[in-house]
Amino acid sequence: MKAAVVVFPGSNCDRDLAVAFEKAGFDVSMVWHKDSALPEGVDIVGVPGGFSYGDYLRCGAIAAQSPICKAVVEHANRGGYALGVCNGFQVLTETGVLPGALLRNAGLKYICRTVDLKVATSDSVFTEGYNAGDVIGIPIAHHDGNYFADADTVAQLQDQDRVAFTYADNPNGSIADIAGILSENRRVLGMMPHPERAADEGHGGTDGVAVFRALMGIVATA
């Protein structure tokens, strides 16, 4: 199974994400933002955290227009799998692959700590390794993680069971406590918390491992 991790100027979680995929058994290749195509046969694309293009204009806005992002959007539109974490979630909303947008944290502060997340659905290739209602500890590290979408979009996400994770104690003002959402075909997940930072004993927690293990199992049999 092949994973590709996108690297933008300013990405800083790309290697962490690659290691998490590798530990789950994926062959991982890194792809540069100027590349216009993904490597042949890629099953899942990881869009990592960081500060792509310095977060200029809006977080993820310029990355969303990069050559590689056009390929990522085509991959997603073909039904390919993708995981966007933190800045990667911002990028995926800016491309329109996922609905909504990420605003400045309601408290205006950059927040870096481990938070409790509730698994809102186990019905996805990313969350099948959990039970709905599980509470897991996953680090967040963001200044612009305040998820916003209009009321109709939020209702649609909830009706279609596309909210993947919610915050147990909302740290950033996100509407409906939303921490991560799925695409309509449930093959793209965007989330502000960092499962790849909870994927090794040395991290102080391994609650994020199930995301990558479940992916490996399900993508392999798809």
Partner: protein, 76 residues
């Protein structure tokens, strides 16, 4: 020729930075300030013959995120 684009968060979208400015103004004694919204101004220098439609396309595709922001264009 030049164009000036104003980008603002839409009404109904919380603007925590504007709120922080409002609180600061209140604390300084400017007690008549009832609301503050903070936005961006983007000045574009354009080749002759550019149209407002070109700038609209730029706004829709990059300069504003119309999920959360509205924009207005002044051709100068």
């Amino acid at each position: 020729m030049k164009a000036r684009v104003h980008v603002m968060l839409k009404n109904g979208v919380l603007d925590p930075q504007g709120e922080a400015v409002r609180h600061a103004l209140g604390a300084m004694g400017f007690d008549k300030v009832e609301g503050v919204r903070q936005g961006k101004v983007i000045d574009l220098t354009l080749a002759e013959g550019s149209s407002e439609a070109d700038v609209t396309e730029m706004c829709e595709k990059l300069l504003a995120n119309t999920v959360i922001e509205s924009y207005s264009i002044e051709m100068l």
